[in-house]
Symmetry: C2
């Protein structure tokens, strides 16, 4: 998937392409839902048994720096990461299976403008996240 692009990005930014980094990149780039550092560690270890948890942390840090992954904030914790969408996009998460989709929040402009006027704030960033049930989980009942 994006894995090769991510590796290129790492290289272009002066980072070396190592076993550890490849393993982390391949795990995160391929997964459709948010993963915590330990989850990345467990999965990546399947193919790279010598991988250490510390390298997972350090690689995630770099991927976040480069804007390739983002931290996902949820009620039960904020230690999970997921691949970023293209451009400025927001997340829609399934509270049951953890599936994630990206969407654009263009329509927020007017709201933000009106809040700025009301409060006198200069709004520089916005975080939006939707939570619900995905198509699959809806079908599966309950």
């Amino acid at each position: 998937m994006n894995a090769d692009l991510w590796l290129t990005q790492l290289k272009d930014n002066g980072y070396r392409l190592t076993e550890a980094r490849k393993a982390v990149v391949e795990t995160v780039a391929v997964t459709q839902h948010a993963l915590s550092p330990v989850e990345v560690f467990d999965r990546a270890r399947a193919s790279s048994p010598r991988l250490g948890l510390v390298s997972v942390y350090r690689t995630l840090e770099k991927l976040e720096e480069l804007g390739l992954i983002q931290r996902v904030h949820q009620v039960h914790g904020c230690q999970a990461f997921i691949a970023c969408g293209k451009g400025h996009e927001h997340l829609l998460l399934c509270t049951k299976c953890g599936a994630a989709e990206h969407f654009t929040g263009d329509k927020l402009g007017p709201l933000i403008t009106s809040i700025s006027k009301q409060t006198g704030y200069k709004v520089e960033e916005h975080w939006l996240q939707l939570l619900g049930l995905c198509k699959k989980c809806l079908k599966a009942g309950k």
Copy 2:
């Protein structure tokens, strides 16, 4: 401020009114920006020197349960709490001084409907937060 209301709420829900709980409630209800457990601890200790950090954690837990405070998610961490607004409201945070204001995000309906249709998700919750500079910090330059 809301402090008395909060204490009543605690009592009505079967919790006893103790020194520790009063100290935490009085600290958080009065503060206009998000506080971490340790910050609450330090401030509350000014008036209740025997207070323990554990009681701060346990009281914050109950206040969150009762919907009186909410966790604030920020780039630099998600361990801070702030009083909830009235009804369903969102947060506008100053990234410089930490000031917080509540606003209503009513205008999100159309966006949510359109995302639901596009993705097949049943959206049950939304989470919006604006970040920027407050009036004061804008004036204070840069």
